[in-house]
Amino acid sequence: MFDLVKKELSLCMHPTAFIFLSFAVLVFVPNYPYEVIFFFSSLSVFFCCMMARENGDIAFSCALPVKKEHIPLAKMLVVIGLQCAILLLVGVMGAIKGAVLPAEQYINQAGISANIVLVGNGAILLGIFNLIFFPRYFKKPDKIGVPFVIGAIVVFLLIGVFIVLRWTTPLYSITLNGLNSENTGAKIAAFAISAAVYVVLSAVSCKLSMNNFRKIDV
């Protein structure tokens, strides 16, 4: 498994997978729907899969002495690693923003503030994307467009839902909004629930992807 992950990192990563990590600094843009940052993470997955297809990576990997179902698992572990990196970076950048900017500038008029609840929202978005994209992709690795478009549409709809919640519910507009130092317990609880959702959705996605990939003809 370690060798497969190493192969993924050395041969299959599109540059955007790393470049889009820097988009975590977008949390410094005033009044911006910060959840969009996580869409870019999904977009980099699409580019990596395109690159894998153009490189004949699936056929190459299947001829190696590895279990077939470990191939999707390795790819997903790399993606999960990158997703955890963007979640961490957004959290860190949000914390820095909270520390250096005055409180009134920290409030986001386009969505939730750059706090740990935003990181939780990102985790839910990425978990949902994983569940939609990967099982479909590993059913037909040559057909990347349709799974990505479905995943992207759902991600954007969910971003819309988070923005609506920010303006329509006291929970999101008051309790979970603003600096991490306010209502910290509630924010940590919301983040923990979101992180658990991410873990469950990604694990289910892994399982389904491995099952689907086992059945395909390369």
């Binding site: 050395s10 490189n55 190459f60 190696l64 002495p65 590895v66 390369v218």
Partner: protein, 283 residues
Amino acid sequence: MNALEVRNLTKVYPDFTLDKVSFCVPRGHIVGLIGRNGAGKSTTIKGILRLIAAEGNIDVFGKDIFKDELTVKQMIGYVGGGFRYYPMNTLSAIRKAYAPFYLTWDQSKYEKFLAQFGLSEKKKVKELSEGMKVKFALALALSHGAKLLIMDEPTSGLDPLSREEFCDIILQLVREEGVSVLFSTHITSDLMRIADDIVYISQGRILAACPLEALLGKYRLAHFPSLAEAAAANAIGVKSVKDGYEGLLTRDTQISEDTVITDATIDNIMVHLEKAAEEGRHV
């Protein structure tokens, strides 16, 4: 013990069936897998390597690939034509990713092959000629001590000189390294040079699996002035040619004195057996 034994390999697609394919590759032999385009050569190889979900039994040096896939794959070197993967990467990057999968990877052997084949690891795959890509695939396949080489049309796209060079390399590997080779191709002149045995597949079924000499010895090519004479001689796969008709005759067929007979090549045998199969004649 055979290097490879394939028994009743079956794969059903909506418009094609690989139908209970069975053959073996004796240890130290070069076996040519021949057949026209779409006959099932690549499907057979993919089935052996478990790249597709096919039914049947596959033993490599006595080990069942279904039970012991990882061990068996360590013994196999697969060359799927030229090296078509990762065109933008250097050979060095690919080798670094590839080598750790093989417990018996021999770096000095790999470097020896690179020097022998005139390959530079600094080059990108896209910078290699078709012949060089095949050589790179061979260098990777052989540097982990593969005892069985499985190659899917490795010489298609190569010029005659490169094909000649490729055949020389394979012969050398068999003689010096003792590897066994299964090698699919429709360029039969390569097989005439190096193959010990032939597996002939047509429409997903094995038409012949025997030593090359036995196949060539089984048939003769007969030239008939008229279709009636060809029919009277019970010729196989009769077809019209420039100045008469041609068909295959088995060695024991009695022929008239005015029938011109020559030795059949693999091409002749394939052409006429395919024709006979199209006509529904059992040969």
